[in-house]
Structure formats: C-alpha cells, structure tokens
C-alpha cells in the first residue's frame, strides 16, 4: 500500500526523478533546490549539483536555506566566484540540465519571473526578477521546469519573457542563437508536460495519481494539448516520501 501524499510532494518527487548519476545540474532557486537535494540523497548520489552562488559539486544532506547556504560551500568539490560560475561553467555549455522554477509559464515554455501586468514600469506585482534564469535557460543543454499549475501560472502568453523557452514557436531558439535545446520537461502538481516535437507547444504527457487531464486543463490558461498516450506518474515510493519529509522537517534546523 502506498502512503498518502500531497500533490506538492508528488511534484517534487517527479522533478527529482529527472536527475541521474553523472548529470551535471545547475540548480535554480526555490522548488528545484528541494528536488535536486532529494535526488542526490535518494536515487542519484553522483549527480553533480551546481549553484549560481559558485558551488560546484555541492552535496547537501539537508535542504539548503538558500542557494548561498554554507552547507553548499562546505560540501562542494570547488567554490568559485559568481562571475566564474556564469562565464566558465554555464556559458560554454558544460551543464546538462538547468533546473528552474517560474512565476508564469506559457504554452511555449517561456518563463516570467519579473512582473505581473502588462506595464513593466507600473506592474501589478513586482516579482524578484531574472537572477540566473535567462542564461541558465539559454545555455544548459536542456532545461527542466518545476512549478505549481494554476490559471495564474499557466498563461497563454507570459506578461514578460524573463527566460526564453521556445519563444514564439519552432525555430525561434536557433534564430536567437541559443545554444541549449530548451525546456525538455515541465513538472507540475498535476502532471508532466513536454514540448511537442513539431509545434514546441507544452503537452500533457503524464498525470499524477489522483489527477486527470481535465484537472490539468482547468488549471491552464490555454487549450492544453494532451498526449494520446497519456501516462500516469508512478506515485512516490516509500523511500522518496520518507526522505523528502525528513528533509523538509529538518529545514532550518
């Protein structure tokens, strides 16, 4: 029998499964950090975690309080400056996976973390801003996005393109000269979406246990495409759930 779990837990577990031993992952702030730590502590002990704070190969055994947590420096193979982490490590395309979250995402997986509202100078909501995301989204070989799916977060067009997914559709990344291949998968609390190989449009390919395609559609601000081969995500294992809860319980301890 599987233990009960929340949709947030399912989302984090599904995101963690995107990382494998040997994967070099640039870990963005927020949800990705939890998922990356979970992956390293469970199925992918040899994942290489890189944070924009300059820690290469960090091995956090608890959830970092921020991407500049001391545990990242103490356990890292190397600590470099912030200019170096962007110039020597991210920019040349050495990173396999960029792991990002977002405040808004659109059908072409463009990401907004800057402002809500159409007037940049007079926003409805001022968000934190770009951070490392634009260049992570541009230069990593591929990108994994994790965020909760609601009508506010899944919008037809983001109010502000902070980080480019597929721009306005097929061929845009190549036209812009972005070296990475862009978002490979988006993990939400409802399911898993991947870009359609032809249209680049995000398509629901898996729903988490207990959710339906209709639930996901109702939380999406455009007519969400659903794969004819829609799968159901494996629920969290006992180990995944136990470790995730232990990590979250000891946060800040």
């Amino acid at each position: 029998m599987t233990a009960a779990y929340t949709s947030d837990e399912m989302m984090t577990v599904a995101a963690a499964r995107q990382l494998h031993n040997g994967t070099v992952c640039f870990v963005g702030i927020g949800l990705p950090s939890t998922a990356a730590t979970l992956a390293r502590v469970t199925s992918a002990p040899d994942v290489v975690l890189i944070y924009e704070s300059g820690t290469l190969g960090a091995k956090p055994a608890r959830l970092p309080l921020s991407i500049g947590d001391g545990i990242l420096a103490e356990t890292a193979d190397a600590v470099v400056s912030v200019p170096e982490v962007f110039n020597y490590w991210l920019q040349p395309g050495r990173i396999d996976v960029g792991f990002l979250s977002a405040a808004q995402i659109d059908r072409y997986a463009n990401i907004n973390t800057t402002v809500i509202g159409s007037d940049y100078r007079h926003p409805k909501v001022r968000l934190p801003g770009a951070g490392g995301a634009p260049e992570i989204a541009a230069s990593c070989r591929e990108v994994v996005v994790v965020l909760r799916q609601t009508l506010r977060t899944f919008v037809d067009r983001v109010d502000f393109i902070t980080s480019v997914g597929f721009g306005q559709g097929p061929g845009d990344r190549q036209r812009l000269g972005l070296s990475g291949s862009g978002p490979r998968v988006v993990i939400t609390d409802f399911g898993i979406l991947t870009p359609d190989p032809e249209t680049c449009e995000l398509t629901l390919v898996s729903v988490h246990n207990g959710s339906t395609a209709e639930d996901a559609r109702a939380a999406t601000g455009w007519p969400l495409a659903v794969s004819p081969d829609l799968a159901t995500t494996d629920p969290p294992t006992e180990e995944e759930l136990t470790v995730l809860r232990r990590l979250e319980a000891t946060q800040g301890a």
């Binding site: 702030i29 704070s53 309080l65 991407i67 600590v79 634009p134 480019v164």
Partner: protein, 272 residues
Amino acid sequence: MAEIVSLSDGIAAVVHDGDTLVMEGFTHLIPFAAGHEIIRQGRRDLTLVRMTPDLIYDQLIGMGCASKLIFSWGGNPGVGSLHRFRDAVENAWPLPIDLEEHSHAGMANRYLAGASGLPFAVLRGYVGTDLVAQTDTIRSITCPFTGEVLTAVPALSPDVTIIHAQRADRKGNVQMWGILGVQKEAVLAAKRSLITVEEIVDSLDPQPQEVVLPSFATTYVAVAPGGAHPSYAQGYSLRDNAFYTEWDAISKDRDTFLRWMDENVMRRAPAA
C-alpha cells in the same frame, strides 16, 4: 594601504548623498551593520547596486535612502517578496525608485569589467528576453574575428563598495572564505571601499577556499563583529533563518516596518 577605522567613521568617509553604492554578499557575509549605519547617518539619493538586493536593501529603500536600484534578483531568499522594494516600485512609497534591471550573468560581468578597468564586458546573454527593451545598458557587439553578434554590458564602477569579511590583519589585508559571490570584483571595481570584519588578527592563517584582498587594494577596514547578521559569516556565525521569515511580517506593513527600524536601527548607538 587600507586604514583601520571605526564603522561610523568609515561610513561617513566613504558614503555620501547621491553616491552609487554597492553592498555585495551572496546570501553569505552581507554587510548589515554597515547598511544600518548608512541609514542612521541619513544618506539620501543613493543609487543602490546589488545582484541580490535582499533585507538590507529593503531597509535602505523603505527608509528613503535610495532613488535608483541596479539589480538582478530582488527577493527574500527562501521566503518570498521584499515588501519595501515592492511598495517602492508598485506605489512609489516612500519615494519612487528607478530600476535598472539585469540578469545575474550580466551583473557579474559588469563588476568584472569594472574590476578589470574596462568600459564594458561581453557575454552570451539576454537574447530573446524582454529585459533588452527595458534596460538601456544591454547592447550588442560584433566579434571582430568571427562576425558573431554577442551582448555587451557596461562596467560597474561604483563610488563605493562595502562588503563584510571574516577578518583582517593589522596591515589591513582582508581574508574571507566560503561563498564569496562577486565581492572581490565589486571591491576592485569601486573608487572607494570599506570592508567590515568579524575581527582583526595578528596573522591570517590560510583557509580553504580563501580570497585575500591585499591592503593596497582597499580604502578602509572596520571591525563589526556579527556585522553580517541575520546572514552568516562562515566559521563565525549561522544564518538567522527565523529572522528572514519574521521580516516578511515586519516589512509587510509600513508602520510596523518604521517602528521596527526605529527600535532596532535608529536608536542603536553606532558601533564604536
């Protein structure tokens, strides 16, 4: 050679109304004590520069010290919004604030150019984002060898940079270790600098992952034990995570914020 001074004398010497001011620290070693002294000294019309403006810049903005912010990520790390920053941007309270917004990669390279005595830096960045249309300091540049078009950003050469470090020796050589962000570049890019330290020691025993800033490269050093609180100083203090969470409630309301600042900053005697 750097001169060792008191925190209040150091701030008075380096920070003037209208200055472009950098205070750096990537979660680690954030110079809070120095920021509080700037607020107490009543500086105005500052252009604040920082990759990750967080609580200390929220306080400076909320107290009306700043007219402009140059930044790349303004949030309360691990908690959420910066309410004073948002109130300034969304409602111009207590003053309107002009924004010059970049990405981390761009800001890091702007400091790097400043530290290198160059007027600009080249990077692969910003392409396809809406930042380009909002920020005049993002332009393109063509490689004179390959013809490839890349992005250029102008150097940051602030009037003053302030950072916090673990320690200094009596000659003013500064030693810091752990996550060091862009602190070294920010100091080297500035016309004047002040480094607050946990302590002054006779000799700087080597530390893993250390960076030493030689005395000749900085202006002032001031002792400010615990000067990074609520952030941390590796080897000296832990992050006061509870305070970051509490700040969310303190800063949400203008009056609560002003009362807190009055009690915890304005009425505190400046460090000797």
